[in-house]
């Protein structure tokens, strides 16, 4: 399948989403809005995990700083409830990126499991701040936002807000897509495959990883701003380790290194957890089962299903494919 038809499919799916969702019930709209916000977070993580090969366990931290920034500005200074909402979006991205720039100083030095551990620890620092800094963050109670921004259009309307989030999602998807296809994105993939070789070729791999880390933080911050207004409430529970793990699972579930996979993963996880849990009490087994099955039988995630199907339907193509895989593994 060509790259162009993939783009077409994604575009068609997004148009369908935009057309269908407003006609579903208001709870589904709410869920899809949240799924889209988490999809931005998952895609930001995919830039690290899927393209650069950096498994971060602290992505919730950037969601957290974005969300808390929004909530603190709104509750303490009534800022960001009109047109200045757009300024908050910019600030949220900037703060997410700045936090990542700071954390990156420590994290980028490490690789593999150590990177996992250090991002986990840094993420927990943000949780600790949210939980203990009562005067600013409201501690365990969290912060209730006074309402969604209003600037000519009322974001309080759930459908309007859904379109806004969808817009941000599309913009994030596009910019990340352009990014990963740029020479810079290719260099990240090179780092993922074989960092030493990239260094020998003359790339400053640490700097490239650092930049990717900061960009991912920026998108995390954006997700945070949208998350705060989607829920109307920010709590330390939003910043806990589970959120970071969820983001990681979303990416792996959907297929890492595909961007769209993270979004699909976000949709599936949120649907299973928040919708299925309202229908059956044993939803956790379903969620666990799905994780295990996908990791066992679809290591490439849901996005690898079409390729798998093709492989299965045309057995002749198989040896060639496997040969190709081995070649990349040896490289």
């Amino acid at each position: 399948m060509t790259g162009r038809s993939k783009v077409l499919i994604v575009a068609a799916a997004l148009v369908a989403l935009a057309a269908v969702i407003p006609h579903t019930n208001s709870f589904v709209i709410l869920l899809v809005t949240r799924a889209l916000v988490l999809a931005i977070l998952a895609m930001s993580l995919d830039l690290l995990l899927g393209f650069t090969g950096l498994p971060s366990l602290g992505q919730a931290a950037y969601l957290g700083v974005g969300a808390y920034l929004t909530a603190i500005l709104a509750t303490k200074y009534q800022f960001g409830l009109g047109l200045d909402f757009w300024l908050v979006v910019v600030l949220g991205i900037a703060l997410g990126a700045a936090t990542a720039a700071f954390f990156g100083l420590f994290a980028i030095r490490a690789g593999g499991v150590y990177f996992l551990m250090i991002t986990l620890a840094l993420g927990q620092c943000v949780w600790g701040l949210a939980y203990r800094w009562n005067s600013l963050t409201g501690g365990d109670n969290g912060l209730n936002l006074p309402g969604r921004p209003e600037f000519g259009i009322k974001l309080a309307d759930d459908i309007t807000y859904f379109y806004l989030v969808l817009g941000f999602f599309v913009a994030s998807l596009l910019s990340l897509y352009v990014l990963v296809r740029s020479p810079f994105g290719r260099s990240l993939e090179g780092i993922r495959e074989r960092e030493v070789r990239m260094r020998i070729l003359g790339y400053n791999t640490s700097l490239h990883k650092y930049i990717a880390f900061v960009i991912a933080g920026g998108f995390g911050g954006l997700a945070g701003v949208l998350w705060a207004h989607a829920n109307g409430h920010v709590s330390p529970e939003d910043v806990v380790l589970t959120t970071s793990v969820d983001a990681l699972l979303m990416v792996v579930l959907g297929g890492s290194g595909t961007l769209v996979g993270g979004a699909i993963g976000a949709g599936v996880v949120l649907f299973l957890r928040e919708y299925l849990s309202t229908l059956v009490p044993w939803w956790q087994y379903v969620l666990g089962g799905v994780y295990v099955l996908i990791i066992l039988y679809l290591p490439g995630g849901l996005m690898s299903i079409p390729a798998r199907l093709r492989q299965w339907l045309t057995p002749a193509a198989r040896p060639k494919q496997e040969l190709g895989l081995r070649a990349t593994a040896e490289a």
Binding site: S5, A12, N134, G139, N141, G142, N144, S235, Y275
Partner: protein, 420 residues
Amino acid sequence: MTAKLIRRAMLLASCLAFGMQLAVPQDVAAEELRIGFIAPMTGPFAQVGKDMVNGFEMYTEEAKNDFAGASIKFILEDDQAKPPTSVLKAEKLIRQDKVHMLIGGVLASTGYALAPVSTREKVVYLPSVPAADDLTQRESAKYPYIVRTGWTSSQPSHPFGEWACEQGYKKIVTVAADYAFGHEVVGGFQKAFEDCGGKIIQKIWPPLNTIDYGPYIPTIKQDADAILSLMVGQMALQFPKQLAAAGNKKPVIGGGTSYDEFALPSMGDEVIGHVSALQYSAALDTPKNAAFVKKYREKYGKVPSYFSETNYTTAQMIHEVMKKTGGKWPGSDEFVKQMASLKLDTPRGPVSFDEFRNPIQNIYIKKVEKKKMFGYDKDELWNTVIKTYTNVGQFGKYGKDEFLKQPVYSRDFPPCKYCE
């Protein structure tokens, strides 16, 4: 290529159709009272959630699911005691199930998170357990659809502080779960205790759901006359055990949840003699409570906790309002008004409401004893009531205006003047 595209489009369409089917709103039957109940069914607070549901369902079953002609549709959602999840589940109950009211939540933080949802969606919210003070104090005006059927965190603490003075305690160390509920229970106690001459000399704040108190117990100051603990959920089991193992000889007193009946049967003899304060005790020796305890125990195999009682009583209150309206849903505003004017006799004793829609009720000082009660033939741990403060409001002996002028109790308020 095109065939592939069409195939994909069809797949997508069928997925969406499936989603829409799930999303079709249900028909709304007449004379049906839809009650959305939010409680943790999984996670560290699952046992508490179970007690809450049991209490509520016991009443609806007694009423044969018929509240003065309205049939009850009880919809339970698991929030895992996480406020963001509680909010989402509340939205689901309101938007999809079109419930008339929300009940429940466990933590104070859950209460603070659900309250704005109730205001935004104009849906009645009855916090049967969340005791966050400000829901019915400084922020009460923001939440016109709240009637609290439980208590405020600091409500039992005010009389309890006075009681501690009467015992001759001069210096007390507090060890309390580090979140709003803990801050408020300790804050109320500190205010009352220091106003009658006592001194809080140290405040220790282990995080919520702490299991190992090794780092905290050795730091307790040795010149204290007593230790005040405020534990919730599984913390309640661990703290007294580890305190006893560390060789503590000081008297231990505690907030209501430290010795509540949901945990008491699992505790060891080390808690005998510990004293706590709450608006309910399963060992309350009134005919009404005796009948409640016996029936509950027969049905669910354990003694009711305050979590069970408060939800049983909440169901009773809803029933009383529905009796007045002849089984018709009167609308959120009228329901709140009717409910706030109720005066009821409940298992916990007489309950009425103040102008902030918070219960005025008895506060019981309770001592853990091992004895036989209600004709059960085994020696068990019971919260024997040793003193009753009747008709205590949320401001205790303090004037409403004077009280509301001070900030809400927090980790830093009242300031710890005697801590070093």
